[in-house]
Amino acid sequence: MYLRPATVDEALAALAARPLAVLAGGTDFYPARVGRPVVEDVLDVSRLTELRGIRDEGSHWRIGALTTWSDVARADLPPLFRGLQQAAREVGGRQIQNAGTVAGNLCNASPAADGAPPLMALGAQVELARFGARRTVPLSDFILGNRRTARGADELATAILVPAWARQAGHSARSAFLKLGARRYLVISIAMVAATLEVSPTGKITRCGIAVGACSPVAKRLTALEKRLLGERLTAGIAALAAPAHLAELAPIDDVRAAAQYRREAALELVRRALAALAAEAGAGRDWS
C-alpha cells in the first residue's frame, strides 16, 4: 500500500489505522532498501506542504517537518541559527540537501545525524501528532538510541520547535557548528560540535547549549561544560575552559571512519574551536540576535 495524503489529518488517520513507513525526502529511506523491493506499506508525506517552512511564533520558532536542508540554508534567519544553517550546507551533497528534510534526519536517528547537535544545542523540541492529539518532546528525549526514537507507530513528527533565545533586552545569541570528516563532503562525520551562546549586555554568558554528535549512540549535550561556561565573559580565553573531563560522557566507538581515541580528541578540539569562533565573532562586533 502506498498512501500520499494531501492533509495532515488524512495522514494521521491512516497512521491510526495501520503501521506505515513514513517517507519524506527519501534520502535515508531508499539507501536502507538498496537491492530489495519496498515491501512495507508506505505513507508518503511529501504532499503535506502545510508542514514546510520556518515561522517565528514568538516564544519559539517552528521548523515544519517537511522543511528541507536547502530551505534552512537559504532561509533569512537570525544569527541564533548560524550553526544549523552551517550544518544544512554540509549535509551530504547538494542533491541530498534539496530532498532531505531536517525532521527526517532526526526521525532516522543515526548517531551521525548532522541535524541532532545543532538542534540539541538550541534546546529544540519535536512536535508529534497522532489522530486527535499532539505532544512535544525535548529532542534529547526524542532520540533514544541508534535508529530508535520516542515516536509512536501512530505518530507523525510535524515540526521542530526551537525556543526563542535572548528575550531579555540587550541580550543576544548566536550559534556555530563544526564537522570533521575524512573528506569535506559526502562523508559520514567523525565528530560534530554545535554551540549556542547567549550573552548579556555586559558580555557574560547567560545561557548556552553545547552538543557533540557522532561520538555516542545519540548526540549529547555537554551539561558539565555548559554549567562551567555560565557567567563567564565571552572572550578568546573561553575556549581553554573546555577540558577533557567535560567530554567524559561521550562513548565514541572505533569504526571504519575513525578510532575512538581520535574521535574524543577531535571532539574536544572542535568544542574549543566553536567557542573560539563565537568569541571572535562577539569581539568583532558581528550582529547577534
Binding site: 559520514i188 580528541e265 578540539e269
Partner: protein, 794 residues
C-alpha cells in the same frame, strides 16, 4: 608568484596539421549527451538476470553445493558452479590458478561460488537463497606476515610459504657502493591497499546461440582480446565460436586489465540457459573483484655521496597479494625494475615477495607496481637531502639519466626530459623563494616519477606484431580506422584518428574509428601499461603511410607521372610545379578502379634492444619509451585535528610529444589526482576478510572540495621511437604525488610520515607521538618548562 587559478602551459612544439592541436574527443558528444551506451545499457531485447553466490568464509574446503531446490523454483533457468568450467585462468600464462567459480576450495570471503540465471531479479534472488552450500572452514591468513610464518596453512598446495613469487635481483657491487657513500640511511615504509574506484559498475551481457553454438559477449573490459582467449579456455570453446565486443567503458584504471571472473560466469550462464544473460555487479561486488594496488611494506636503504649522488640501493618489498595470482608476479617485478631505474645509480640489491593471503586478489592499478616503491624511494631521498643539507632538487639533478642510456637493470632509455620537468616545477611553484618560508603548518614538497609506454613484451608471447591497425577506404571517400585498442576514456580512438589525419593531411571529419569488436577489428592486446598511444599509435602511423603510398601511386598513374612527382596536400594533390591537380575523391576513385575497396594494414613491434636484459624477470619494466615527471605539492596541515589540505600542485610531464594536449593535460591531472586519493584518504579495510569500506561513502575518494588546482606543464622530449615523438601520459604523473605530499607535510610541521594514507587519525597519532617523545626527552634532560602544556608551548 603567479596568480591564475589553473594555468595549463606547454613547451612549444608547434601544432602541425592535426597533431599537437587541442582536439575534443571523437566520442565526447555521446558521453556528454548521455547517448553513449555502456554495457549495462545493453541490449535492447529481454535477457535473463544473472547473479553470483559468494563465499561466506575466507578460507575453506567446499564440501557440497546443492542446487536441487533452486532449480525447482519457477523462473530459474540455470545454476552453475566451478564444475561447469573446463579450465582455470589467470592473465599470466604461468600463473593460472583461479577458476571463474571456486572449485575445491574458497580462498577469500566473497569469492564467487555459484551463479544463477533466472527470468527476473526476484527469481534470481530466490534461487541464490535456495542453493545449499556446505563449506568446511580452514584457518585464514589476512596479513603477509601471518601467511609467511612457518607452519602457516597453504592457500595453494604448490606454493610453499604462500609465496607467489620471490624476486632476487643484484646489479653492481652494493657493499662497495655503501662503503663509498657519505651517508647511508635505512627506513621502512607502509602503504595501505587501494582499489581503482572506477565509476561504471561491472557488467557483462552474454548471448549464447544454441543453434549455431556461438557466443557473443559485451563487457566492461580493458582487454577484450585477452577476454576472448580466456573465454575459449575456461568454457572449452573453439575461439572461432566467440565474439567479444567492448562498448563504451566508464573507467578502467587497471580494474579491467585482466579477464575477470564475472565475465566468464555470464558466458557460462548464457550457455547453460541457452539464451542471453545480463550480469550486473553491485559496488560491493566491485570491491570484492578488486585487483587493486596491494598493501606494501618496503624496507629501503640508500647510500649517497655529499654531492647527492646515489651510490647504492638495497630494498626489500613485501606485497600482500590476496588469494590468486592475477598480475601479481608482474607487480612484484615492476616494483624492483622501476624502483631505481628513474635515476643513474651505482648498485642495486632487490628482494621482492608476493604473498598469498585470504583476501580479494590484488593486481594492476594505474602506475602498476611502481607507486609504493616510488613513495619509499623519493621519501628517503628527501630525508637524506635534509641530512646532507642539500635541496631536494639538487639531489635529483645529481642522478639524472642522459639518453641514450642503459639502466643497471638493462632498460633502454632513448629520451628523458626529467631535467626540464624539474626546472619547470621548481620555477612554477616558486620553490626557491617559498620553501621553508611559508610559516608553520604550510609547506612544499617535491618528488619525481617515470613510467613505461607499454610493456615491451606482450603478456601472451605469440610472436605476432605488438600492434595492428587496419584502414579501410571505399567509394564513400571516408576512412575507417579499424582498431582493437580499447578506448576507456583516455582518448585512444581520438588519437588514432589524429595520427591518420596527420599523415594524410586530411580533416578529422573524413575519419571514423571502429574499435574493439573481435569480429571486425584486428586483435589488440588491450589498454594497459600505457601502451596504446605508443604502440597502436605507431601501427596507425604506418597504416596511414601505407594508404598514402597507394593513393599517391594511383594519382601518379592517372596523371602519368612518377609517384615522386606528386605533391600530396590531403584534400587534393598536384604534379609538383604544375597546375595539374586531382581532388581527393578523384584520387580515391582512381585507386578503387585499380583494386576495389582499399584495405591497408599497419603493424608495429618494440625493437629488440628495448625488450630488456637476459636475467629472470628482465622483461618486466622494459619499454620502448619512458615518460618522466616531476611535481611540487603545497599543503596546509591542521596539527590539532591531523587534517591535511592540498592547496596546489605543479606537475611537469615529459610525454615525448603531446599528440592531443587537451587529452594529455586531462590524463596528467587525473593521474596526480588519483595519487592524491591514495596519499590522503583511500584505503580498503577488512575485518576477518570482510571488506569494511566496500562503498563510495567509506572508501573515500576525494571529492571536488578536496581537489586543488593542478597546474600542468608538458615537456616534449621527442622520443625517437614514439609516434611523432610521443610517449606515455596517463600514469607517470601519479607516482610522485604521495612522496611529494609526505615531503610537504614534513616541510609544514617537521614530521616525516612513512605510512599511507595520511588520514587525519593516522597523522594526529604521529603528531602526538612526537609530542610525547619531545616531552620525555625534555624531562630527561631536566630542561625547565618541560611540563608546560603543549598548547601553550606552540
Amino acid at each position: 608568484m603567479r596568480h591564475e587559478d589553473v594555468s595549463l602551459r606547454r613547451a612549444p612544439a608547434p601544432p602541425t596539421h592535426s597533431i599537437g592541436s587541442r582536439t575534443p574527443l571523437v566520442d565526447g558528444i555521446e558521453k556528454v549527451t548521455g547517448r553513449a551506451r555502456y554495457t549495462a545499457d545493453l541490449p535492447l531485447g529481454p535477457t535473463l538476470v544473472g547473479r553470483i553466490g559468494r563465499s561466506p568464509v575466507a578460507h575453506g574446503v567446499i564440501r557440497r553445493i546443492d542446487a536441487t531446490r533452486a532449480l525447482a523454483l519457477p523462473g530459474v533457468r540455470a545454476v552453475i558452479t566451478g564444475e561447469d568450467f573446463a579450465a582455470p585462468y589467470g592473465v599470466i600464462p604461468i600463473s593460472q590458478n583461479e577458476w571463474p567459480l571456486a572449485r575445491g576450495k574458497v580462498r577469500y570471503r566473497g569469492e564467487p561460488l555459484f551463479a544463477v540465471a533466472a527470468e527476473d531479479e526476484a527469481a534470481a534472488e530466490a534461487a541464490l537463497a535456495a542453493v545449499a552450500v556446505d563449506i568446511e572452514p580452514l584457518p585464514a591468513l589476512f596479513t603477509a606476515a601471518e601467511a609467511r610464518a612457518p607452519g602457516a596453512p597453504l592457500l595453494h598446495e604448490n606454493k610453499p610459504g604462500n609465496i607467489e613469487r620471490e624476486v632476487e635481483q643484484d646489479f653492481g657491487d652494493v657493499a662497495a657502493g655503501f662503503a663509498a657513500a657519505d651517508l647511508v640511511l635505512e627506513r621502512r615504509y607502509e602503504c595501505a591497499e587501494v582499489a581503482h574506484g572506477q565509476i561504471e559498475l561491472n557488467a557483462t551481457v552474454a548471448h549464447w546461440e544454441p543453434e549455431r553454438e556461438r557466443l557473443t559477449v559485451h563487457s566492461v573490459t580493458q582487454v577484450p582480446y585477452y577476454l576472448h582467449l580466456t573465454l575459449a579456455q575456461t568454457l572449452g570453446l573453439d575461439s572461432s565460436q566467440i565474439r567479444v565486443v567492448k562498448p563504451f567503458v566508464g573507467g578502467g584504471f587497471g580494474h579491467r586489465v585482466e579477464p575477470l571472473n564475472f565475465e566468464m560466469v555470464a558466458a557460462a550462464l548464457a550457455r547453460a540457459a541457452s539464451g542471453a544473460v545480463k550480469l550486473e555487479l553491485t559496488r560491493e561486488e566491485g570491491f570484492l573483484t578488486h585487483r587493486g594496488r596491494p598493501a606494501t611494506e618496503t624496507r629501503l636503504k640508500i647510500g649517497m655521496k655529499r654531492s647527492g649522488e646515489i651510490t647504492a640501493v638495497d630494498a626489500e618489498v613485501v606485497q600482500r597479494g590476496g588469494a590468486y595470482g592475477g598480475y601479481g608476479l608482474v607487480t612484484i617485478l615492476y616494483a624492483g625494475a622501476l624502483l631505481h631505474a628513474l635515476y643513474k645509480v651505482g648498485a642495486v640489491r632487490y628482494r621482492g615477495y608476493r604473498v598469498y593471503t585470504n583476501l580479494p586478489p590484488c593486481g594492476a592499478m594505474r602506475g602498476h607496481g611502481a607507486v609504493n616503491v616510488r613513495f619509499a624511494f623519493e621519501s628517503l631521498l628527501d630525508e637524506m637531502a635534509a641530512e646532507l643539507g642539500l635541496d631536494p632538487f639538487v639531489v635529483r639533478r645529481a642522478n639524472l639519466i642522459e639518453p641514450p642510456y642503459r639502466t643497471l637493470n638493462d632498460l633502454q632509455v632513448n629520451s628523458c626530459g626529467l631535467a626540464q620537468c624539474l626546472d619547470a616545477v621548481e620555477q612554477a611553484s616558486g620553490w626557491r623563494e617559498r620553501r621553508g618560508k611559508l610559516g608553520r603548518g604550510r609547506g612544499l614538497g617535491m618528488a619525481c616519477s617515470h613510467y613505461v609506454s607499454g610493456s615491451a613484451k606482450p603478456v601472451h608471447w605469440s610472436g605476432e606484431p605488438h600492434a595492428v591497425v587496419n584502414l579501410k577506404l571505399d567509394f564513400d571517400t571516408g576512412i575507417t580506422v579499424l582498431t582493437g585498442a580499447s578506448d576507456i576514456g583516455q582518448g585512444s580512438s581520438t588519437l588514432l584518428a589524429q595520427v591518420v589525419a596527420e599523415v594524410l593531411l586530411l580533416p578529422m571529419a573524413r575519419i571514423r574509428v571502429v574499435a574493439t569488436d573481435s569480429a571486425l577489428t584486428p586483435k589488440d592486446n588491450g589498454s594497459y601499461s600505457s601502451r596504446v598511444s605508443f604502440m597502436v599509435g605507431n601501427a596507425a602511423l604506418r597504416a596511414a603511410q601505407g594508404l598514402k603510398r597507394v593513393l599517391v601511386e594511383a594519382a601518379a598513374k592517372r596523371m602519368e607521372v612518377e609517384p615522386d612527382d606528386i605533391d600530396w596536400q590531403g584534400e587534393s594533390c598536384c604534379v609538383a610545379g604544375t597546375d595539374r591537380r586531382m581532388d581527393f575523391a578523384q584520387v580515391v576513385q582512381a585507386a578503387l578502379a585499380d583494386t576495389g575497396t582499399l584495405t591497408v594494414k599497419g603493424t608495429w613491434s618494440t625493437p629488440p634492444e628495448t625488450q630488456g636484459g637476459k636475467f629472470r624477470g628482465a622483461a618486466v619494466g622494459s619499454t620502448a619509451g619512458f615518460s618522466y615527471a616531476a611535481q611540487v605539492v603545497e599543503v596546509s596541515v591542521d596539527e590539532d585535528t591531523g587534517m591535511v589540505r592540498v592547496e596546489r600542485v605543479w606537475v611537469a610531464h615529459d610525454c615525448g610529444r603531446a599528440l592531443n594536449p587537451l587529452a594529455v593535460e586531462g590524463q596528467v591531472q587525473g593521474a596526480v589526482w588519483m595519487g592524491m586519493g591514495q596519499a590522503l584518504s583511500e584505503e580498503t579495510r577488512y575485518h576477518a576478510g570482510l571488506p569494511l569500506a566496500a562503498n563510495f561513502l567509506d572508501y573515500r575518494i576525494p571529492t571536488i572540495a578536496e581537489s586543488p588546482p593542478i597546474e600542468v606543464t608538458l615537456v616534449e622530449s621527442m622520443d625517437p621511437l614514439g609516434p611523432f615523438g610521443a610517449k606515455e601520459a596517463s600514469e607517470g604523473g601519479l607516482h610522485a604525488f604521495p612522496p611529494a605530499l609526505a615531503a610537504a607535510v614534513c616541510d609544514a610541521i617537521g614530521l616525516r610520515v612513512r605510512e599511507l594514507p595520511l588520514s587525519p587519525d593516522r597523522l594526529l597519532e604521529a603528531i602526538q607521538a612526537r609530542r610525547r617523545e619531545e616531552k620525555l626527552r625534555a624531562l630527561r634532560a631536566g630542561r625547565p618548562g618541560a611540563d608546560v602544556p603543549e598548547a601553550e608551548r606552540r
